[in-house]
Amino acid sequence: MARRYDSRTTIFSPEGRLYQIEYAMEAISHAGTVLGVLATDGVVLAAEKKVTGKLLDLSVAKEGGYGGSGEKIFLLNTNVIAGVAGLTADANSLINYARSAAQRHLFSYNEDIPVEQLAQRLCDLKQGYTQFGGLRPFGVSLLYAGWDPHYQFQLYHSDPSGNYSGWKATCIGANNGTAQSLLKQEYKETVSLEDAIGLVLRTMSKTMDSTSLSSEKLEFATLTVDPETKRPVAKIYRPTEVDALLAKHGLAKAEDPESNQMQSRDGLLVTR
């Protein structure tokens, strides 16, 4: 029944729905969780990595690099970072667009693009794909964490329809319902960055698929303001820094007892 109206994005169904957009959001609900929390002195983003494995070459990520560790959380501009959930290729395209938009603003106005404006630019692009061109929408939701001198720290969420809204704490991707209700219970507007980090890590550990947190499955970033220079500082944590942070909050992966054991030839287990 719905099938007749879902092959092209530019068509409404009789019930007034745009099915392609809903299907895009369905795709996102299977993607790795991204969580964002606004604190009084910063914004925190955490994301669950889905692409992992021994054979993955992460040597670039270990050194950091300008744009961050590269699967879920990206630097858009000096004052904005974004976490993506959904189709990775679509996300990369949007990230690239956002970075160009930020630089175009810098070119014209010699200032960092205000966070809401960057979110709006991306949303204008996404909305275009739902109204004309006959192309499918972007299957990506983004969380934008940023700072500007007009409205200070901000957190925005945008989805494939091209709609966006500002949040104090929110979650996208898999298990976002669970995470959202956890945040609703525990979040306070007066939360400091340190406490927000703790809240984010605890919430992630409860909603992620894996049994324990480690830098292998978790990406982490913060957006703060340097107290001396008064300029925004985006920090996308390197894998070693993520592990250190987890250890500090008591959420580090416990040593797997089996990996420490060696079997001796007569079958008796020997612990290392």
Binding site: F107, S108, Y109, N110, E111, P114, E116, P149, H150, Y151
Partner: protein, 195 residues
């Protein structure tokens, strides 16, 4: 021609002054022309140069800054507005029919609580400076300002310095420029005063 404008910064304020003569060839048409355009609640711009271009450009800038304000719910800071204005002039220079307008831009930045002053010429040259002048009067006023300007001066002291500049121009410029229109911007906004 023979248009003259000044700007100077003091403690928490910026003053812009411009002559108010509208003349063509040997005829003085008007003596109370306002050559300082308000670009927003915290930004003013004194224009001079090719007649017609001046008003056209000033209105273009004002409308675009207003559109930005309506779209984005906040005004551009003086530094960002100046960058945009300069970029517009620089692009115009590289077109078939460039704007020939010189500007002095004064504003109050509420995010840093400081006054700003920019000198921009028709080539798109821009400098962020404590005092500025355009026109023939600049040849006299800049020396006066070099000697007497104090960036920490109170408003009264700043106005006294401005009066010195105007007197110098009156004395030494061959053309009489008549009364100067003076506008002040501080954290409370923009106001015009009689010297």
């Amino acid at each position: 021609m023979a248009e003259c404008s000044f700007g100077l910064i003091g403690k928490g304020y910026v003053i812009l002054a411009s002559d108010s003569t509208a003349a063509r060839s040997i005829v003085k048409m008007k003596e109370n022309e306002d050559k300082i355009k308000a670009l927003g609640p915290n930004l003013i711009m004194a224009t001079g140069g090719e007649p017609g271009d001046t008003i056209q450009f000033a209105e273009y800038v004002e409308r675009n800054l207003r559109l930005y304000h309506i779209r984005h719910n906040h005004t551009l800071r003086p530094s960002s507005a100046a960058a945009w204005i300069r970029r517009t002039l620089a692009d115009s220079l590289r077109s078939r029919n460039p704007y020939s307008v010189n500007l002095i831009l004064g504003g109050y930045d509420h995010t840093t609580s400081t006054p700003n002053l920019y000198w921009i010429d028709y080539l798109g040259t821009m400098v962020d400076i404590p005092f500025a002048a355009h026109g023939y009067g600049a040849y006299f006023a800049l020396s006066t300002l070099d000697r007497f300007h104090d960036p920490e001066a109170t408003l009264e002291e700043g106005l006294e310095t401005l009066k010195k500049c105007i007197r110098e121009v009156e004395k030494r410029l061959i053309v009489s420029l008549g009364k100067f229109k003076v506008k002040i911007i501080d954290r409370n906004g923009m106001r015009e005063i009689e010297l």
